[in-house]
Protein backbone atom coordinates (compact mmCIF):
# COMPACT_ATOMS: atom_id res chain seq x y z
CA UNK A 1 0.00 0.00 0.00
CA UNK A 2 3.01 2.31 0.15
CA UNK A 3 2.81 3.17 -3.55
CA UNK A 4 -0.76 3.91 -4.62
CA UNK A 5 -0.47 5.75 -7.93
CA UNK A 6 0.36 5.14 -11.57
CA UNK A 7 0.35 1.47 -12.57
CA UNK A 8 0.23 0.50 -8.88
CA UNK A 9 -2.91 2.51 -8.22
CA UNK A 10 -5.39 0.44 -6.21
CA UNK A 11 -8.65 0.93 -8.07
CA UNK A 12 -11.37 1.46 -5.52
CA UNK A 13 -14.24 3.94 -5.25
CA UNK A 14 -13.72 7.59 -6.04
CA UNK A 15 -14.58 8.69 -2.50
CA UNK A 16 -17.89 10.29 -3.22
CA UNK A 17 -19.89 7.62 -1.46
CA UNK A 18 -22.01 10.13 0.47
CA UNK A 19 -23.20 11.84 -2.70
CA UNK A 20 -24.08 8.51 -4.30
CA UNK A 21 -25.83 7.29 -1.16
CA UNK A 22 -27.87 10.46 -0.88
CA UNK A 23 -28.72 10.75 -4.58
CA UNK A 24 -29.87 7.14 -4.65
CA UNK A 25 -32.27 7.84 -1.77
CA UNK A 26 -33.58 11.14 -3.14
CA UNK A 27 -34.25 9.59 -6.55
CA UNK A 28 -35.88 6.62 -4.80
CA UNK A 29 -38.27 8.92 -2.94
CA UNK A 30 -39.12 10.77 -6.18
CA UNK A 31 -39.88 7.48 -7.95
CA UNK A 32 -41.98 6.24 -5.02
CA UNK A 33 -44.02 9.47 -5.02
CA UNK A 34 -44.48 9.18 -8.79
CA UNK A 35 -45.72 5.61 -8.33
CA UNK A 36 -48.34 6.79 -5.85
CA UNK A 37 -49.43 9.70 -8.07
CA UNK A 38 -49.73 7.42 -11.12
CA UNK A 39 -51.52 4.71 -9.17
CA UNK A 40 -54.02 7.24 -7.79
CA UNK A 41 -54.80 8.43 -11.32
CA UNK A 42 -55.14 4.86 -12.59
CA UNK A 43 -57.41 3.61 -9.84
CA UNK A 44 -59.80 6.57 -9.80
CA UNK A 45 -61.44 7.81 -12.96
CA UNK A 46 -63.44 5.07 -14.64
CA UNK A 47 -62.58 2.36 -17.18
CA UNK A 48 -59.03 2.40 -18.46
CA UNK A 49 -58.52 2.55 -22.21
CA UNK A 50 -56.14 4.31 -24.57
CA UNK A 51 -57.73 7.75 -24.14
CA UNK A 52 -57.50 7.83 -20.37
CA UNK A 53 -54.04 6.24 -20.28
CA UNK A 54 -52.58 8.68 -22.83
CA UNK A 55 -54.54 11.49 -21.19
CA UNK A 56 -52.72 10.96 -17.91
CA UNK A 57 -49.39 11.70 -19.60
CA UNK A 58 -50.67 14.56 -21.73
CA UNK A 59 -51.05 16.93 -18.78
CA UNK A 60 -48.06 19.27 -18.64
CA UNK A 61 -47.43 18.81 -14.90
CA UNK A 62 -47.45 15.02 -15.40
CA UNK A 63 -44.98 15.38 -18.27
CA UNK A 64 -42.62 17.36 -16.06
CA UNK A 65 -43.01 14.87 -13.19
CA UNK A 66 -42.48 11.90 -15.52
CA UNK A 67 -39.41 13.57 -17.00
CA UNK A 68 -37.95 14.05 -13.53
CA UNK A 69 -38.64 10.38 -12.80
CA UNK A 70 -36.90 9.26 -16.02
CA UNK A 71 -33.80 11.17 -14.96
CA UNK A 72 -34.16 9.67 -11.48
CA UNK A 73 -34.29 6.15 -12.93
CA UNK A 74 -31.10 6.79 -14.88
CA UNK A 75 -29.24 8.27 -11.93
CA UNK A 76 -30.50 5.65 -9.46
CA UNK A 77 -29.68 2.76 -11.81
CA UNK A 78 -26.22 4.20 -12.45
CA UNK A 79 -25.39 4.22 -8.72
CA UNK A 80 -26.79 0.71 -8.30
CA UNK A 81 -25.12 -0.83 -11.34
CA UNK A 82 -21.83 0.83 -10.43
CA UNK A 83 -22.09 -0.82 -7.00
CA UNK A 84 -22.65 -4.18 -8.64
CA UNK A 85 -19.67 -3.80 -11.01
CA UNK A 86 -17.42 -2.60 -8.18
CA UNK A 87 -18.39 -5.59 -6.01
CA UNK A 88 -18.11 -8.38 -8.55
CA UNK A 89 -15.81 -7.21 -11.35
CA UNK A 90 -12.20 -6.88 -10.23
CA UNK A 91 -10.14 -6.32 -13.44
CA UNK A 92 -10.03 -2.54 -13.88
CA UNK A 93 -10.26 -2.61 -17.69
CA UNK A 94 -13.34 -4.83 -17.73
CA UNK A 95 -14.96 -2.83 -14.93
CA UNK A 96 -14.40 0.46 -16.74
CA UNK A 97 -15.77 -1.03 -19.96
CA UNK A 98 -18.92 -2.20 -18.17
CA UNK A 99 -19.34 1.17 -16.46
CA UNK A 100 -19.06 3.01 -19.77
CA UNK A 101 -21.53 0.55 -21.33
CA UNK A 102 -23.90 1.20 -18.42
CA UNK A 103 -23.78 4.95 -19.00
CA UNK A 104 -24.35 4.52 -22.75
CA UNK A 105 -27.26 2.13 -22.06
CA UNK A 106 -28.91 4.44 -19.52
CA UNK A 107 -28.42 7.70 -21.43
CA UNK A 108 -29.78 6.01 -24.56
CA UNK A 109 -32.82 4.76 -22.67
CA UNK A 110 -33.45 8.19 -21.13
CA UNK A 111 -33.28 9.85 -24.55
CA UNK A 112 -35.80 7.43 -26.02
CA UNK A 113 -38.14 7.76 -23.03
CA UNK A 114 -38.06 11.57 -23.17
CA UNK A 115 -38.77 11.48 -26.91
CA UNK A 116 -41.82 9.25 -26.34
CA UNK A 117 -43.03 11.49 -23.54
CA UNK A 118 -42.75 14.84 -25.31
CA UNK A 119 -44.19 13.93 -28.68
CA UNK A 120 -47.55 13.15 -27.05
Amino acid sequence: MSVNYGSRRVVVGAHYGMRDWLSQRITAVLMALFTIVLLAQLLFGGPLGYDRWAGIFSAQWMKVLTFVVFISIGWHAWVGMRDIWMDYIKPAALRLTLQVATIVWLVGCMGWAVQVLWRL
Binding site: A32, W53, G80, M81, I84, T102, A113, L120
Partner: protein, 140 residues
Protein backbone atom coordinates in the same frame (compact mmCIF):
# COMPACT_ATOMS: atom_id res chain seq x y z
CA UNK B 1 -0.48 -18.32 14.24
CA UNK B 2 1.08 -19.77 11.03
CA UNK B 3 -1.23 -22.78 11.34
CA UNK B 4 -4.25 -20.49 11.55
CA UNK B 5 -3.12 -18.58 8.48
CA UNK B 6 -2.88 -21.80 6.52
CA UNK B 7 -6.49 -22.65 7.28
CA UNK B 8 -7.83 -19.49 5.74
CA UNK B 9 -10.07 -20.47 2.85
CA UNK B 10 -8.87 -17.70 0.52
CA UNK B 11 -11.03 -15.59 -1.75
CA UNK B 12 -14.71 -16.48 -1.63
CA UNK B 13 -16.04 -17.65 -4.95
CA UNK B 14 -19.63 -17.84 -6.08
CA UNK B 15 -19.72 -21.61 -5.47
CA UNK B 16 -18.71 -20.94 -1.86
CA UNK B 17 -21.19 -18.12 -1.50
CA UNK B 18 -24.20 -20.20 -2.52
CA UNK B 19 -23.37 -22.75 0.20
CA UNK B 20 -24.21 -20.20 2.90
CA UNK B 21 -27.70 -20.19 4.30
CA UNK B 22 -28.64 -16.54 4.25
CA UNK B 23 -30.86 -14.99 6.93
CA UNK B 24 -34.06 -13.32 5.61
CA UNK B 25 -32.36 -9.90 5.60
CA UNK B 26 -29.61 -11.37 3.40
CA UNK B 27 -32.19 -12.84 1.02
CA UNK B 28 -33.92 -9.44 0.77
CA UNK B 29 -30.56 -7.80 0.11
CA UNK B 30 -29.42 -10.07 -2.72
CA UNK B 31 -32.89 -10.02 -4.28
CA UNK B 32 -32.81 -6.21 -4.10
CA UNK B 33 -29.71 -6.40 -6.29
CA UNK B 34 -31.09 -9.06 -8.59
CA UNK B 35 -34.38 -7.20 -9.09
CA UNK B 36 -32.56 -3.93 -9.77
CA UNK B 37 -30.29 -5.64 -12.29
CA UNK B 38 -33.26 -7.26 -14.01
CA UNK B 39 -35.06 -3.92 -14.38
CA UNK B 40 -31.84 -2.35 -15.70
CA UNK B 41 -31.50 -5.05 -18.36
CA UNK B 42 -35.18 -4.88 -19.35
CA UNK B 43 -35.37 -1.06 -19.31
CA UNK B 44 -35.64 -0.82 -23.14
CA UNK B 45 -38.55 -3.27 -23.04
CA UNK B 46 -40.31 -1.08 -20.45
CA UNK B 47 -39.76 2.04 -22.56
CA UNK B 48 -41.02 0.16 -25.62
CA UNK B 49 -44.18 -0.76 -23.67
CA UNK B 50 -44.58 2.89 -22.66
CA UNK B 51 -43.99 3.95 -26.28
CA UNK B 52 -46.60 1.67 -27.89
CA UNK B 53 -49.13 2.19 -25.10
CA UNK B 54 -49.24 6.01 -25.25
CA UNK B 55 -48.18 7.04 -28.76
CA UNK B 56 -51.42 6.40 -30.71
CA UNK B 57 -54.56 4.29 -30.91
CA UNK B 58 -52.84 2.17 -33.56
CA UNK B 59 -49.76 1.55 -31.43
CA UNK B 60 -52.04 0.86 -28.46
CA UNK B 61 -53.42 -2.07 -30.45
CA UNK B 62 -49.85 -3.38 -30.79
CA UNK B 63 -49.56 -3.06 -27.01
CA UNK B 64 -52.74 -5.07 -26.50
CA UNK B 65 -51.99 -7.74 -29.07
CA UNK B 66 -48.54 -8.25 -27.53
CA UNK B 67 -50.33 -9.82 -24.57
CA UNK B 68 -53.23 -11.34 -26.50
CA UNK B 69 -51.55 -12.76 -29.59
CA UNK B 70 -47.83 -12.33 -28.94
CA UNK B 71 -45.28 -10.27 -30.85
CA UNK B 72 -42.94 -11.55 -33.55
CA UNK B 73 -41.95 -15.11 -32.66
CA UNK B 74 -42.67 -14.54 -28.95
CA UNK B 75 -46.00 -15.94 -27.72
CA UNK B 76 -48.36 -13.92 -25.52
CA UNK B 77 -47.85 -16.15 -22.45
CA UNK B 78 -44.10 -15.51 -22.63
CA UNK B 79 -44.62 -11.75 -22.78
CA UNK B 80 -46.91 -12.00 -19.78
CA UNK B 81 -44.25 -14.02 -17.96
CA UNK B 82 -41.65 -11.31 -18.64
CA UNK B 83 -44.04 -8.63 -17.37
CA UNK B 84 -44.80 -10.78 -14.34
CA UNK B 85 -41.06 -10.99 -13.59
CA UNK B 86 -40.87 -7.20 -13.90
CA UNK B 87 -43.87 -6.82 -11.58
CA UNK B 88 -42.09 -8.95 -8.98
CA UNK B 89 -38.83 -7.03 -9.48
CA UNK B 90 -40.58 -3.69 -9.06
CA UNK B 91 -42.55 -4.76 -5.99
CA UNK B 92 -39.57 -6.33 -4.27
CA UNK B 93 -37.29 -3.41 -5.11
CA UNK B 94 -39.93 -0.90 -3.99
CA UNK B 95 -40.72 -2.56 -0.66
CA UNK B 96 -37.08 -3.37 0.12
CA UNK B 97 -36.28 0.25 -0.75
CA UNK B 98 -38.93 1.60 1.61
CA UNK B 99 -37.46 -0.70 4.28
CA UNK B 100 -34.06 0.90 3.64
CA UNK B 101 -35.46 4.44 3.86
CA UNK B 102 -37.36 3.57 7.02
CA UNK B 103 -34.17 2.21 8.62
CA UNK B 104 -32.22 5.31 7.51
CA UNK B 105 -34.85 7.69 8.83
CA UNK B 106 -35.63 6.09 12.18
CA UNK B 107 -32.21 4.57 12.96
CA UNK B 108 -34.21 1.70 14.44
CA UNK B 109 -31.72 -0.94 13.49
CA UNK B 110 -31.69 -4.08 15.58
CA UNK B 111 -31.23 -7.73 14.67
CA UNK B 112 -34.83 -8.50 15.56
CA UNK B 113 -36.30 -5.60 13.56
CA UNK B 114 -34.08 -6.39 10.60
CA UNK B 115 -35.33 -9.96 10.73
CA UNK B 116 -39.03 -9.18 11.01
CA UNK B 117 -39.00 -6.34 8.46
CA UNK B 118 -37.19 -8.64 6.03
CA UNK B 119 -39.87 -11.29 6.46
CA UNK B 120 -42.58 -8.64 5.92
CA UNK B 121 -40.78 -7.46 2.77
CA UNK B 122 -40.58 -10.98 1.34
CA UNK B 123 -44.14 -11.89 2.32
CA UNK B 124 -45.68 -8.69 0.98
CA UNK B 125 -43.81 -8.73 -2.33
CA UNK B 126 -44.60 -12.40 -2.98
CA UNK B 127 -48.26 -11.96 -2.01
CA UNK B 128 -48.75 -8.89 -4.23
CA UNK B 129 -46.86 -10.59 -7.07
CA UNK B 130 -49.17 -13.62 -6.85
CA UNK B 131 -52.29 -11.43 -6.74
CA UNK B 132 -51.20 -9.35 -9.74
CA UNK B 133 -50.11 -12.55 -11.50
CA UNK B 134 -53.64 -13.93 -11.19
CA UNK B 135 -54.95 -10.68 -12.64
CA UNK B 136 -52.35 -10.64 -15.43
CA UNK B 137 -53.05 -14.19 -16.56
CA UNK B 138 -56.78 -13.58 -16.38
CA UNK B 139 -57.48 -16.06 -13.60
CA UNK B 140 -59.47 -13.54 -11.55
Amino acid sequence: MPEMTKQRPGTMRLVDAVKYRLPPAGVVSILHRASGGLMFVLLPFLIWLFDVSVTSEVSFETFRSTFNAGIGFLPAWFMKLVVWALIWAFLHHFIAGVRHLWMDATHSVSKQQGHSSALITLGLSVLLTLALGLKLFGLI
